[in-house]
């Protein structure tokens, strides 16, 4: 037996791990690298920045209202109450980015749960769950968001949940499709052959093989959630003053658009930069993982 094995080549000469190849593909995507850098910078600045700036985000200074940037230490100028714009932008970044990430976690978890369940069980369960997904997608989500927000006391937690409730469907669809195709693979049959329970097949066999598309969908969901939070807060149903979010800063800025345009430009830039960055990273991840995900 051992001589028989010796004839056969034991190991194929593949030394490069699939993971490192995906990383190299990702690095070739310039915009994705820019996106990663921008996200890291924004997160760091939002977390650390407010401690380094000698102004309080709520400190009103009537004498220095509408100071244009840069003004005596107010790098980005001040708003209509004389509050430092930079520190408010960074504090708003804490709120907006947290909502983006938290909504992503909640909606990805829920969407993945629905998708795996539907894809694994199939039949009537799949039809029921996926038609529910279709129904949810039919709602114009901005109105759903506004209606929900009008009834529920706005806070970071409730806004996060409301946004998550309107953005888990994409993930569910992606995961369901992925699981449905993986389900037909031989190794799933092999797992069932050795007597694996359904829970094991779902969590340990199917889910790890679907992780690429889930990561991509999750990244794009952050971008969507940041944008959604901005919409809702801009329309006044989201994060309430005096707490700052990029959306409600825009809202406050609109009546001074002619006289103090920097009040609108900076939050607008932050929203654009973060949403674009997450989308770039999502694209890069898709190219790196999704297209030629090496399953062998």
């Amino acid at each position: 037996m051992s001589s028989a094995a010796a004839i056969e080549s034991v190991e194929t000469a593949r030394t490069v791990k699939p993971g490192s190849r995906a990383w190299r593909r990702f690095c070739r995507h310039r915009l994705a690298l820019f996106g990663i850098a921008a996200i890291v910078l924004m997160v760091l600045a939002s977390v650390v920045g407010p401690w380094l700036i000698p102004f309080d985000q709520l400190k009103i200074d009537i004498r220095h209202r509408f100071a244009p940037p840069p003004w005596e230490g107010h790098l980005f100028g001040t708003d209509m109450l004389g509050r430092d714009l930079l520190v408010r932008l960074l504090m708003a970044g804490r709120i907006s980015l947290s909502i983006g990430f938290l909504a992503m976690i909640v909606s990805t978890a829920f969407g993945t749960f629905i998708g795996v369940t539907a894809g694994y069980y199939g039949g009537a369960i799949r039809v029921a769950l996926m038609r529910f997904v279709d129904a949810m997608l039919c709602f114009p989500s901005i109105f759903l968001l506004l209606i929900l927000a009008a009834f529920i006391q706005p806070s970071v937690a409730t806004i996060t949940l409301i946004i998550a409730a309107t953005s888990w469907m994409e993930v569910a669809r992606v995961v369901e499709g992925q699981v449905r195709s993986l389900r037909e693979r031989d190794f799933i049959l092999a797992a069932e052959m050795i007597g694996a329970p359904g829970r094991y097949v779902m969590l340990r066999e199917l889910l790890p093989n679907a992780i690429g598309p889930i990561v991509v969908a999750a990244t794009l969901t952050v971008a969507r959630a940041v944008l959604m939070e901005a919409y809702v807060s801009f329309l006044g149903y989201g994060i309430q003053a005096p707490m700052a979010s990029w959306g409600n800063m825009l809202n406050n800025a609109q009546q001074y658009l002619g006289s103090a345009p920097w009040l609108a430009i900076f939050p607008g830039l932050m929203i654009t930069l973060s949403v674009a960055s997450f989308n770039f990273v999502g694209d890069g991840l898709r190219d790196a993982l999704d297209a030629r995900l090496d399953l062998r």
Partner: protein, 339 residues
Amino acid sequence: MSTGDIVLEVENLSVTFATESGPLQAVRDVSFTLRAGETLALVGESGSGKSVTSLAIMRLTPPAPLVTLAGSVLFTGADGERRDLLALDLDGMRAVRGNEISMIFQEPMTSLNPVHRIGDQIAEAITFHERVSNRVALARAAELLDKVGIPDARRRLSAYPHHLSGGMRQRVMIAMALACNPRVLIADEPTTALDVTVQAQILELMKELQQATGMAVIFVTHNLGVVAEVADRVMVMYAGAIVEKGGVVPVMTRPLMPYTQGLLHSVPRLDPESLGRDTLEAIPGSVPDPLSLPPGCSFAPRCRHVRPACEAAVPALEAADDGHDVRCRRWRKLAEAGA
């Protein structure tokens, strides 16, 4: 050869798929018995129902509204208790799968999960059925890898499937299937996707393991050369039904069913008299559409010896000799004529 107790009795097994154009009977009234230590070869063309039969025994066909199973699969466990697998609930069936009946598949390249180490995959097969710690299970996985001829087994536990060649992966699959010492191993074309030299090694390995453990093997294949090598008994399937079954020597040397004769004739040979010939004797035509089977013998449209009576009614499976059954209305005449 070695004939132990009966471990598996399949009686009138039928498998029906619900398709858009109506019910499709992929397996029709298949009955056979399997004894401990013997190898039964299940032979037939693609679409003859041999793989579906083996999946149905494991209850791995798609669930009820899509596929319905009829008949019974009586399995005698290690405890001596006889159970009908088709009547078991899902949990009961899970306890049997991998533990008492195991299976290996055709494609070793895709039968292992790419994201898990092979040691973990084998260890899982053990922990599903026995209350052992992870460490013990991994130690047993290493023993199994050693048993299936993988050198340096302990280090190999942490290899991923993509580190291994096809033959090595099939060895891992065999280790996984044999993790709990099953009484029956169903091998669904286990060597079809492998190189000829590797094929021989895997067949040799399976024989050795069978002799060591006394398990019964159902060997599904379309390769008649392999059948002659491994089988004790042969069962030939055509269009979902058994058309001939018997000991390997009588069936291979004196086939009674024209289909079996055709199969044997269409194997390329290397003997001097056939080397000069340009063409192989292929069976004309192709397998009938299972949705519209001919009313009589399903092989009739392709048979050289067909008579009008053959097309009138489905012939029964008759006992031609001791333990040699054939489904052909004219087998006596054909045997006399020395076909």
